[in-house]
Subunit: 193 residues, 2 copies
DNA sequence: CTAGGGTGTTACCGGTCTGTAACTTTAGCG
DNA sequence: CGCTAAAGTTACAGACCGGTAACACCCTAG
């Protein structure tokens, strides 16, 4: 009780934060609600008072991580106000940094793979959030003055998605090591047109 | 013998085939050994007489799918003997075909994501098999007369890997729809250098 | 025909999972 | 202070999981 961190934050927020972390590290099907509540310093009943089900918790976690990702995007605009091309390069750099710092990839993509049931409630949420991120990257490419902005944005998307999954199957020394070179080369190539 | 109507496939092979299919469709953690044996028309005891554990079965399934993938590669050489550039384009076409025909992506990548335990026995197998595929694609690019063959091969790898996972999170109308255009554009770009 | 190995069947073990019920304790607040 | 709502505790239900034991069967090789 001396440490205020576990006491100050509401149980719901502690559960959400802990669940995000554990889902990310061990996968959704790799962690049970008991483990989450224990790590969050609470209990199962409290979890089920705040979330309808584990699926509901999963969805809330995905929304929360997407929210954090959006904050990172906002930071680009704050760092290079108006300079969309600089923001695009910052996006590449940030993506590479996150690749190096964490080898578990994208929570939404991982969830889509784990939750193979086509009617899983999290699927439509994943699609929504991913489409929003795609729209944002397309807008960034377009505003950076790139012709064929959609194609560049989609190519960068696939490259990053591929790098994140390649990281997990062959490690950091695999193809993902060249991500920055690939991305920068693509941007230069599209701008030259 | 020579009785084609009742093709008696050995239980081990039936189990292996069925497990590959079910792991692919529902994920590794999404299907139990009971479901596999039932679908294979046998029982759990027989499975454990042929495989040490579920983990062992997983590994054998991955090896089997990698073997099938290798056969597809061999088909390229058979179809365009000696013409490595044609084989590379065939690789792109085949990859796109498989993307359209099946939305569950690569078994090895999916397994790497599902089996988040860093010391899981399947992990080293996945890495081996993926590295072999990478080597093969690098060799194909090099023999096709492309400068910077490694970089092209790695870029194509990431694009395909990304397309397969994007397919599962945002669907076929997402960025993965442009895979062929991206890949062909890249090959042309690398060859022009 | 017989022996034996591969196979099928049933039952079971110990553990884990999501989710719920009933009750007690705590914390905030007028 | 006392009231109330939130949170903690314990126990449990019902299903599923990977894995094993014991035993009956059947097909074929010798």
């Amino acid at each position: 009780m001396a440490d205020g961190t576990t006491e100050r934050v509401r149980p719901r927020d502690r559960i959400l934060e802990t669940a995000q972390d554990m889902f990310h590290k061990h996968g959704i099907k790799g962690v049970g609600v008991d483990a989450i509540t224990e790590a969050a310093g609470t209990n199962k009943m409290t979890l089920y008072r705040h979330f309808e089900s584990k699926d509901d918790l999963i969805i809330e976690c995905l929304r929360a991580t997407a929210c954090k990702a959006a904050a990172i995007w906002d930071a680009f605009e704050a760092e290079y106000p108006g300079d969309k091309l600089a923001q695009l390069h910052a996006w590449v750099r940030k993506a590479a940094d996150m690749l190096n710092a964490d080898s578990r990839g994208c929570d939404m993509a991982n969830a889509a793979i784990e939750l193979s049931e086509t009617d899983h409630p999290a699927r439509r949420v994943i699609k929504e959030l991913k489409e929003a991120q795609r729209d944002r990257l397309v807008a960034l490419c377009r505003d950076a003055g790139v012709g064929q902005a959609e194609l560049l944005a989609d190519t960068l998307s696939l490259l990053l998605e591929g790098a994140r999954v390649s990281m997990q199957s062959v490690g950091a020394e695999g193809p993902s090591a060249q991500f920055v070179r690939m991305a920068e080369g693509l941007i230069a190539s599209f701008r030259a047109r």
